[in-house]
Homo-oligomer: 445 residues x 2
């Protein structure tokens, strides 16, 4: 089934075939097929879907589509959706809905769910609490494996995952975990206490989602328990949500390093004014700070007007410096983000970047020297000035690029935001100062 | 247990406590604790670990540590490791080992495993085949749920995952999948054929790991079957390996966009010469191409020498153009990488970037105009030249930044490599041409 086939079937009003074919598909694919259809057609088809598929399709719709559907369906249908939706999907949806839709949803939630929803909405955005779900399998350590499997059989369908089960005491304190694999492999008479793993790795409700993702990547877990300040189990996070977090955090770093306000929204779904607002502040800051570079040039106005050829190499020097610095800062910012580098590694970075920058700087400068003399046929003095400036600029650029992100992190700032956009401006100014100083000295001006 | 406590226990030769405490930890943590120890001490402790923990610890060691251990252990110990290691971990290890160690490993592998190893080593790097494993649960559709659960109980311990089971016919063709959740919830007398899911989503052995990761993110799967050209099941990929792929692919894009050769190796583990070699080529290309910008400046030498103040704004214009272009290209490159954007969206990008760039360009230029007149007190003509150049440059930069990555992808080139580093150079040249053209016109020179 593809878009065109669906269109034709709709034209033929062949809804029986549509239902039959859609019911076999993955809900992600069904949602994608229905998303572009007008609301009445998509609602018509949506209502025909098998019930358990329907809710999964609903949770894969865009928020706009979800809102339109909620506006049109009956109270009974809304109640069904709310009962069947996974809790984390419901929270995500509520966060994006306008107030009247939220009110409608809350009116159909059960009493105890309503207070849970309110509690979950209070977790800071991007915290573990904001991405966790409450549908986990809860076991007691006195249970036998047989009891546990029976419990899973009875309740498992409504759980986000049944592959890791959580053992809690009567105060909801987490005592251990046991995997479904262990349960299936173990003897039915054993107790949960005998087979559970008590060295449980968990996160707290207020931990940042980026550090939670780090735990998943490090250990390769499928799910991770989330506890509150009193170490009571309050929810779990599953790996499918974490894959989104990993992509999203990388995207945010890309945006920050390119001097933009980070945003989770998809490019095509974001309005022009919002996008402009994300981009303007840093462009303004960087434009203003580039005037310092201009000031430096004005200070050497007499030098520039007497040896005009000097200005022809400014773009090359600035670009080479900026590119050299960017290479280093990108590696360091990324290393800090994935946890591969720590701020305490700063002296290793310093030593490494120093050696790399000497190798790179000398190679670049030699090639350039040859080119200047053989092809551009500039005077030897000018060639030597460019030669020396390139080496010093590359070294400066790589040291600043390597150390600025670490310094930013050390004082509690975001390396991607602080170091990314600023490197070019800092290196520009540095390279010009080096250039004019060397030129003044060698030209005797 | 932390590093310091382990050091003290080693000094006290209290190996009983060490074993007792390590046996309770996650293998990832044990490997990290043993990694920095000298080889004889770590081997001593490694040999004391519980057997099933030991192999998992081994697979979490660095390749250097694995090599050192293989060099020292007995043939019997090596055989045990090889038998217990997951197949994908073994392949990863073999790929990194020197020839003599590979020979030693192959000598201890069973005949049929040896030929499989050779087959797996031939998959292209970064292909689905290169990251898949062969330890999956294989079911037949005639089995009952009870048979299947018994089969899992007997063989499940050695499987990379038991949570998705694969149903194949006698020619190894994939007929369906069934989750352990479904098995546990279903009636024991049902057959696999009745409960299996036949709309199976799979990848091919030669698919790129980035597109495999895309499938995982899209559907939230825990595992994905890999089939060969004849649609026979040859292996599976599990989500824990995919998390690494997602991080690694993002890291590669960061590196490419910062004008470096992409590398999987950790920064601190990479030699200075290797790092320099990754960085030099693009720096050279960009340095040489920046000379075109210099040529443009030389062409307007007379203009520059008669109105020297013009050169003072060159850094600001170049930086603003470069930053504006980078913002757009970063969003588009990332959107193409995560699959959120397609090349067929080019006209949407064009229209969006055009509107954004007009808003951003006008805002920036107005602020700048005010600053130039009020603070810098430049002449009105110069201020107007800068005003107009900034608007046109921002528009050019954002259109080039938005469309170049799409054009690169369209003709089969990597958007991150082709567009990232080149944007600045292209925009530099464009902004200077605009600047001098406007200046010549308005100054009548």
């Amino acid at each position: 089934m593809d878009e065109r086939r669906l269109e034709n079937l709709i034209k033929e009003r062949n809804y029986i075939t549509i239902k039959k074919e859609l019911d076999k598909l993955n809900p992600v694919d069904v949602a994608e097929l229905l998303e572009p259809l007008d609301i009445s057609t998509s609602l018509l088809i949506y209502r025909m879907l098998a019930k358990d598929l329907a809710v999964e399709v609903f949770s894969n719709f865009s928020y706009e589509k979800q809102r339109d559907i909620i506006d049109l369906i009956t109270d009974r249908e809304l109640k069904e959706i709310i009962e069947e939706l996974y809790f984390d999907d419901m929270i995500d949806m509520i966060e994006e809905m306008p107030a009247n839709v939220v009110k409608k949803i809350l009116a159909h939630a059960r009493e105890e769910e309503r207070s849970l929803i309110n509690q979950f909405l209070r977790y800071p955005p991007d915290s573990a609490g904001s991405i966790m779900t409450i549908e986990y399998v809860d076991l007691k350590k006195e249970m036998t494996v047989r009891d546990a499997l029976k419990h899973i059989k009875e309740t498992g369908l409504d759980k986000e995952t049944v592959y890791t089960c959580y053992v809690t005491d009567k105060n909801r304190k987490l005592e251990g975990i046991v995997s479904l694999r262990k349960l299936v492999i173990s003897d039915e008479e054993e107790t949960i206490e005998e087979i559970m793993d008590t060295d449980v790795i968990y996160v707290h409700t207020h931990d940042h989602q980026e550090s939670v993702a780090g735990v998943f990547v490090r250990y390769g877990f499928l799910a991770l328990p989330v506890v509150d300040k009193e170490d009571r189990l309050t929810g779990i996070i599953t790996v499918d949500d974490i894959m989104d977090v990993i992509e999203q955090e990388a995207t945010e770093d890309f945006q920050k390093m390119a001097a933009m306000a980070p945003s989770e929204e998809a490019y095509l779904d974001t309005g022009v004014f919002t996008l402009a607002r994300h981009r303007l502040p840093w462009l303004l800051v960087l434009m203003i700070s580039a005037t310092f570079t201009g000031r430096i040039m004005l200070k050497f106005e007499s030098l520039l007007s007497s040896v005009v050829i000097l200005s022809a190499f400014i773009p090359m020097l600035m670009d080479t410096g900026g590119n050299s610095g960017n290479q280093s800062s990108t590696l360091i910012i990324r290393g800090l983000a994935t946890g591969e580098l720590r701020t305490s590694d700063w002296y290793k970075v310093l030593w490494k970047e120093l050696r790399i920058s000497i190798i790179v700087g000398v190679c670049l400068s030699l090639v350039n020297l040859l080119r200047l003399i053989v092809i551009e046929k500039v005077s030897l003095t000018i060639a030597v000035i460019i030669f020396l400036t390139t080496i010093v600029t590359v070294i400066f650029a790589k040291l600043v690029g390597g150390l600025l992100p670490i310094a930013a992190k050390r004082i509690g700032l975001d390396p991607a935001i602080m170091a990314g956009p600023l490197i070019t401006t800092i290196v520009d100014a540095l390279s010009l100062i080096v250039y004019f100083t060397i030129a003044s000295a060698l030209l005797g001006l």
